[in-house]
Amino acid sequence: MLSKRYAWADRSRCVACGACANECPRGAVEILHGCFARMDAERCVGCGKCAAVCPADCITLLEREARV
């Protein structure tokens, strides 16, 4: 079962510092080519730890589409 929510980083604000990746208990964050953070939505459990430390405050927890 996937969590209700998952983390998403806004690339127009992300500074690629990696604070989120260091915080994520699931290893769901990758800093893509030093440009932006990308969360693996499948792995993410929506705990929000990354969002709480992001210095640019650019991580949002999105609702997963309701699946049948």
Binding site: V15, C17, P55, D57
Partner: protein
């Protein structure tokens, strides 16, 4: 639990670096590592491995503000992570860096004499003479040490202030090294997929 690596202790290096400058200013030169390594990773590797894993300063801020609870943990004002502020601060910082190199050159050329002081926030002069014995090295080598240490200490203090006021690593959102390395990485990925702002997924 996440695995702990040797490099997770580099925050201790950050403390040692600043401590050494209180005893002998010439150790300031070691700070060049923190300038060249991140740029090396960005230019040759196209990554921010330094920021993501090796930066002692980032780790120190994360630890002080996180585990040791010295941060209010509030989101910083949005302009602080905006491109114009980040690049503006980078430009300002590089100008000040250039000015420091210029002062060093003046001393090397004999046009100015060595000043055994550090300058905080580019304005407050603090006597720092006890950390240097005149004549030990060429004057310009010492002048660079005082100038470079001033920049390092000023930026650390700025980092600590925004750490307390906002989130632990707020400094990282406009740190000149961070901005510069991300800029290099983006340039390197231009025109290639997987790292464009347009694929904001």
């Amino acid at each position: 639990m996440k695995k702990t690596h040797w490099y997770d202790y580099l925050w201790i290096w950050a403390i040692i670096y600043f401590a050494l400058g209180f005893f002998n200013i010439l150790f300031a030169w070691l700070g060049m590592i923190d300038f060249l390594l991140p740029l090396g990773f960005a230019v040759f590797g196209g990554n921010k491995y330094f920021c993501n894993h090796l930066c002692g300063r980032g780790q120190l801020l994360a630890r002080l503000g996180g585990k040791w609870k010295c941060s209010r943990n509030r989101p910083a004002p949005r302009w602080m992570a905006s491109p114009w502020f980040r690049y503006g601060f980078l430009a300002f910082f590089l100008t000040m860096f250039g000015n420091m190199i210029f002062q060093t050159w003046l001393v090397a050329a004999g046009a100015a004499s060595l000043r055994e002081a550090i300058k905080l926030f580019w304005t407050i002069r603090v006597p720092w003479g006890w950390t240097y014995t005149a004549g030990l090295v060429p004057d310009w080598v010492a002048q660079f040490s005082f100038g470079f240490y001033s920049l390092m200490l000023t930026s650390l203090l700025l980092g600590l202030i925004v750490m307390v006021l906002y989130r632990p690593r707020t400094w990282c959102s406009f740190c000149p090294m961070g901005t510069m390395t991300q800029g290099v990485c983006r340039l390197k990925r231009m025109g290639k997929d997987g790292a464009s702002e347009k694929e904001n997924v």
